[in-house]
Symmetry: C2
Subunit: 667 residues, 2 copies
């Protein structure tokens, strides 16, 4: 599918990119020093867009549901990330070209070589080759060598296709074996890369003056939230369920960053950890409010069938029929959809894709990504995973901290179980220094083993249990030391480790998609170059109102200052453009910045305080007195009215648009 | 001076700290793993406070003056920080105790030992020793050994005092010499620490998979702004003056972090870089608006005289009499003062202290710190420096990027100067491979040298100039190769490197001071423990309104939900406390969080939709219908009205306060 702009025009990324750089939405960091791959600066309009997106995010999620926001450092000591699994597993496989020293991501390399060979095969068979959309999720680095039209055996084609289908599943040795087996050579040098080695994606540093405390920059904000679980539960007066949230920078030392803002080394994340009782089907109290919201859900089966488009389905139905695992997960998918819609993401370019079983972290129960369609393909922008009780469990086990919920039961419950009594007086003296170890091994016996041992004890008068580190690892205990009996016990409280549903937002990716979704170009009568427009909804637009005086005449200055102050007191951001460029030029500069409204101050304004209000998207204008204009602006910016409403209510003005459309000289 | 609370009570830091931890304003990071010194997490009320402070900051500075906000990565390549001087100079001197391995900051060590000896001397002389305020700026680590009452020679006392007066001026060798000379021993072990070595305070890391690109976490946000100067000037349509601004985390690997939020390793900074033409006295267009604002200005002379208190003076007068170097610097001092006042900093606890000449970076023209008084002493919270043209100049020189302003002159100017012509045809062949080097040396000659050489040439028919790297460094040029003449030339443009005025805010320190300045305790009739109150102004308060139902009766639930929605639609944050604790208890919990207003929902509310509105500070209550109550809340939260106004307008309610004041049982 070819990508089109908001107005259905063919999308030209290069033109848009050059506009974004020129208007300083973002720009490569440290550019005067040659830049660093994967690091970007946001300029003034980019920053304002970011601030507005985050403001809406906070209102939509944190305030709406009384989430407990925390702000934790990016600097993280190694032991935390060792427990979470990041030190051992947060890595990509990397090869080196022995000839030119190129560093190559092994999975990308195998993928590209095989795809290029398959393309060559198709060409040799006379099949027309259509370039696939570039997909940043797959992080491809274009292979430099040209495609050679070489026909492959049918069996080989099938082998290649099978490898590509499970490319995310291979470990380093397996990738190395594939490279050897299929004689894959770096097209740049013609030599085979070195065997893959694991490259951890975390930035490492030492904390404190001694250099002994190893640390990393966090790769996600989640861990800081988990570590505070007990304090947060306390803050929430022990009430479940609840959510914590965090907004902050995270870091990943990508092997080869690319695709602009989509794959960077430092990025803004917004993460929610919603803690829910694993028992009772993970219901959500407010699910009713969202159940009719329709989403495009690309589940596992659909993906395996090779289909990429599906009908929309109500989230209520999807949870009921088991497509989405539970209500809480479904609730957040719907809320994510509403958020994306609210900031101006094109509804027809959102889909939710379920992770394949092998794509998920081993502890995850289910995971859906909100993907947004861009000229780079479908981009994962929000992940929504059910992380189960994994993180809280491992941190609790490592530190001994009680990262769980103790709930008073409405009715006490009676539990029937196998209990063990030791004759402590005899037991200690008998096992001496090994006493504690043996006792711990006995305490740890699960119910089924206890039952079996009870039978052994009755039959043989002794049991033999495995105790690591004592003698040969087998310990005999006779019936005068131990009693195993089935008894009942009453419980007044219930302890459980909550499961975590985690919506995790990549803000830079959302911001880039938002820009693409709102970009289009306006032709000119004079045959000039088409002019870019960013049709952001007013609430996210970097600046809401442009103030333009008709000319640099002194009489306009007091009114400019007056209107700036008026707008500021209404909480509406505005900018003045009093440069000597024509009004049309000044408006089109601000169309590029996505400024939705413009006020023209002319000689009539000086006389009677009436103003012209211009709409960015239609370039239509209306004219009215100050109070009416300000009221209309406030209603438009707060989303209470659309331009069409304003146009109906206020008299049209056509005086300046003629001049505005004339080709004009630059200042 | 003893520190007191907002209500003049003796300030008890331990009680306040324990309340702040309990209510999760902030908490040591990674605490369940034993924590890491100098790293803190902000909990929900701390985060909300931070967000509100930053929101006001953006409105007060960025929006008010159309500053150009940029957001740059914390990861910074070494070459940038090499040029800025941080790689070589951003260090403290550090010693090691050879016995126990303690790491000691050398300047603090010398300072503490000498102060302790002076104290011992005073004691021996029978002078009463009063503990000085602890001053975190001086980063003292309390020496563990007890003070020994040993009398010193008068001459030695004078030597010690002189050393202490210039303690910030010594380099590592000098500090080492002092330690040796005065036989300073670590009280913990009785041995002399190792000679001081420089310890760079930046966190180091490697960027990219090769490990070849050395990087650091930025120690300030300023450099990212400077590198973008040319793009920002362009964005601003070449108009001067203008300012950029940045909000983000910065990092300093402190040797021994302490004093809670006041000296940490990762912290939020908000920095403004205001670019101004160095010619014309650095006037500011809006100085007139602030000139009557009165500040406490502790200038260099006053500090040298030993005085610490001075009268307030209008900033207009201070600039006029030269106390403050220029209008732009003065303008920002006043704006900083207004900002601090706006968020609720106690006006009587703000002072501006001028840096001593030896305290400033060598390039700075002037520097004033806004210091806030806390129980730790006066704390530097905002720096306001005139960084001159230093940063832009060094980066431009290193990279060749044009970090300057080219201004069209209103009237062309005529310049009379000594110009040099070389006879290129003869010059090249004569000097051969050295030609370019010699030519560059000639081009670089300043006007005074040119004049002198013109006279030499007339007198001797030749000149001898210094050219490094050519022959013996002396090059003879005869008059057939060179002409030096005084001529006039017309200039239409003027080029200059702007000077930078930099207000730099340590947000964590401001936040902590704000908490201290608004803390007090309310006694109880029943003799219970005094209850903490944080009297934040409504605009910064983490939550604006507490909603409390009289009891957990079902009939209150719809109204709670209704009022929550109502408040949210007004943009007012609220929280419900429907726990079973008494109303009084619930209110006092929220006084600790600084929630300024409370709405009680009782049976009367269910009947007629009237509500009680409670004021945190006075605990007074008024009662009115929904619309009136909401209007009052909006006016209070937006700072348009004070509680006194509301109390005058609406009927008082005294029904519940009796219960609220009763000692109550915890839930």
């Amino acid at each position: 599918m070819a990508t089109t702009t908001l107005k259905g025009q063919p999308f030209d990324r290069q033109t848009m990119d050059s506009m974004l750089r020129r208007r300083m939405f973002y720009t490569p960091s440290f550019e005067i020093y040659g830049g660093v791959a994967g690091l970007y600066d946001y300029g003034p309009p980019g920053c304002a867009l970011l601030t507005n997106i985050m403001d809406i995010w906070r209102k939509h999620f944190v305030l709406e549901e009384d989430m407990l926001e925390v702000d934790c450092p990016a600097l993280t000591p190694e032991k935390v990330l060792k427990t979470s699994g990041h030190v051992d597993k947060f890595a990509d496989w990397m090869c080196k070209d022995p000839k030119n020293g190129d560093i190559i991501r092994a999975d990308h390399f195998v993928e590209e070589i095989l795809e290029s060979r398959l393309k060559g095969d198709k060409e040799a068979r006379g099949v027309k080759v259509v370039d696939k959309e570039e997909d940043p999720k797959k992080k491809k680095k274009k292979v430099k060598g040209a495609i050679e039209a070489v026909k492959l055996d049918d069996a080989v084609v099938q082998e290649y296709e099978e490898i590509l289908a499970k490319i995310d599943n291979y470990n380093g040795d397996e990738l190395g074996a594939l490279i050897k087996k299929y004689e894959m050579k770096n097209p740049a040098t013609g030599v085979e890369p070195s065997p893959p080695v694991a490259f951890n994606l975390m930035f490492q540093t030492a904390i404190g003056p001694s250099g002994n405390l190893q640390g990393y920059l966090r790769p996600e904000t989640a861990q800081g939230q988990f570590l505070n679980f007990a304090k947060l539960l306390d803050f929430n007066q022990q009430q479940m369920p609840f959510a914590s949230a965090s907004v902050g920078k995270s870091y990943r030392n990508e092997i080869s960053p690319r695709a602009g803002l989509l794959r960077v080394r430092e990025f803004l994340m917004a993460e929610i950890e919603h803690y829910v009782d694993p028992d009772g089907g993970k219901k959500h109290q407010r699910f009713e409010e969202v159940k009719d919201i329709e989403l495009i859900l690309l589940n596992r089966e659909t993906q395996l069938s090779g289909k990429t488009t599906v009908e929309k389905v109500a989230i209520g139905k999807a949870v009921a029929d088991g497509t989405v695992d539970n209500e809480t997960l479904g609730y957040f998918l719907a809320r994510i959809h509403l958020f994306l819609e609210k900031i101006g993401i094109d509804q027809s370019k959102i889909r939710f894709r379920q992770h394949m079983a092998n794509e998920m972290a081993h502890y995850a129960a289910d995971c859906w990504d909100a993907e947004l369609q861009t000229s780079y393909g479908w981009v994962e922008c929000v992940g929504c995973a059910d992380r189960s009780a994994y993180d809280l469990t491992v941190h609790a086990k490592k530190t001994g901290a009680p990262l769980m919920v103790r709930e008073r039961l409405a009715e006490p419950i009676t539990i029937e179980e196998w209990q063990i009594d030791l004759d402590k007086k005899k037991f200690g003296p008998f096992f001496k220094k090994d006493g504690k170890t043996v006792e711990a091994a006995i305490e740890a016996l699960p119910q089924d083993k206890r039952e079996a041992f009870a039978q052994d004890l009755a039959a043989d008068g002794k049991i033999i249990i495995d105790v690591e580190g004592v003698g040969n690892g087998k310990v005999e205990i006779s019936k005068d030391l131990i009693v195993i009996e089935r008894r009942t016990r009453t419980e007044n409280t219930r302890e459980f480790t909550p499961n975590v549903i985690e919506p995790s937002f990549g803000i830079g990716r959302i911001l880039y998609s938002l820009i693409e979704h709102n970009y289009w170009t306006r032709g000119t009568d004079g045959g000039d170059e088409a002019r870019g427009v960013l049709s952001f909804p007013p609430p996210v637009a970097p600046t809401k109102v442009l103030l333009v005086p008709l000319s640099s005449h002194e009489s306009f200055k007091p009114l400019l200052k007056y209107m700036s102050l008026k707008l500021r007191s209404l909480g509406v951001s505005s900018r003045v453009d009093d440069s000597s460029a024509s009004i049309g030029k000044r408006y089109s500069r601000n169309d590029e910045l996505g400024t939705p409204l413009g006020i023209t101050i002319d000689f009539q304004s000086v006389k009677d305080k009436t103003y012209t209000l211009r709409d960015r998207d239609s370039t239509k204008q209306v004219r009215a007195d100050e109070e009416t204009i300000l009221k209309a602006i406030k209603a438009l910016v707060e989303g209470e009215k659309k331009w069409a409403d304003v146009e109906k209510e206020l008299p049209a003005f056509e005086g300046q648009e003629v001049e505005a459309e004339l080709p004009v000289k630059e200042k």
